[in-house]
Subunit: 221 residues, 2 copies
């Protein structure tokens, strides 16, 4: 249906739009895709011609409903493949993203449906992100940053903000995974480091870590 480049643009614009709102800037897209702004302008004009997004010169772009549908479908495929790689092929959670970047472009609706069934219709990917259904629908998980927790509050780890490779490896080393029970024992006002308990043992984490981990309040279950 669409080319590899077109699909990557749609996915990127979708992510930027849900983070920063409508009217995604040319530079933001260029940075995310590691390309030049001039290339982005060209492609965005082409995607506008195809009714996948609206584009106003110097004002940025926003996906149309058609563009959003296409984007969520690619994200659906990406996340289903990530589950497959982790659950069935025993990859580690920091290894799956790169391969899913390729697999997300395989064209076959039947394949995606059967993969979904084979995996038991999962609702989140290995990083805690929701998997859209066939119609692009998914419920936004009510998560908040670990940094925003109050002392003695309990939370369940539900996802990561930036799924950077090194960060995921750090989490593995510290035995923090999706589903881990995290209790905030104390906050250090000076450097905003946190003393936390994960499942059974406790340790300290920096501010940077606490701003990259999503938790769901335990009460709000």
């Amino acid at each position: 249906m669409f080319t590899l480049a077109e699909e990557n643009y749609l996915k990127t614009i979708y992510h930027l739009e849900s983070l920063f709102g409508e009217g995604v800037s040319t530079n933001a897209i260029a940075e995310k895709l590691e390309t030049k702004p001039s290339s982005v302008t060209d492609m965005v004009q082409k995607l506008a011609d195809k009714k996948l997004l609206t584009y106003i010169k110097y004002k940025g772009t926003s996906l149309t409903d058609l563009g959003k549908k296409e984007a969520t479908n690619i994200i659906r495929k990406h996340r289903l493949w990530e589950v497959f790689l982790l659950e069935k092929l025993q990859f580690q959670w920091h290894e799956v993203h790169e391969i899913a970047e390729q697999l997300e472009h395989i064209q076959s609706e039947e394949l995606v449906d059967r993969l979904d069934a084979f995996l038991g219709y999962p609702t989140t990917d290995p990083h805690g992100d929701p998997i859209p259904d066939k119609n692009g629908y998914f419920k936004a998980t009510d998560k908040k940053l670990l940094a925003s927790m109050k002392v003695s509050e309990q939370g369940i780890c539900v996802g990561v903000k930036d799924s950077d490779d090194e960060f995921l490896k750090y989490l593995d080393k510290k035995n923090i995974a999706i589903g881990s029970m995290i209790t905030l024992l104390a906050k250090e006002d000076f450097d905003h480091s946190l003393h936390i308990k994960v499942d059974d043992h406790s340790f300290f984490i920096t501010k940077a870590i606490s701003e990259n981990l999503f938790v769901k309040s335990h009460e709000s279950e």
Copy 2:
């Protein structure tokens, strides 16, 4: 490592070379890839520069060891994915080839190794073709055409020559699959049609069918 187009050329040249011998003609490649001879000349010159094949103007091309290694690796991936689609996702055998055409280009050695293990190290694909190992090695199955069997001889169906969609559907309808026991009951000299018994029930097949089905003699087990 290589582009999608380059990989498809390598795979096609490999198949043509193993069918008709060294020195594959420009026209033969063009026909298989549904492209123009002039495009083939261009690409073949590029692949020769990259030491993947030897090319002599007007004389045809032959893969180098490097080219063969690359080609068998793509074929390995193609066939492993076909097994996955059939065994794990319950696709029918005539549906798997087209999707595998896409999946064969996914780049990740680790992925192929883990897929191989996940499938239990299969040695043949759903159409009876051997799956090369990591080094490109596979044993040529000692198969022969059903058309070459003698009356009252027994054989096990081990593969198809042309895995055309309609042909595979015909086989499904007639309950002929890899592993089916086939007995040749009688030959009709006039139109070369055959009266055969498959597992339990018997029926007639045309010459065309008999020249598209591979069997392994039952004695030679």
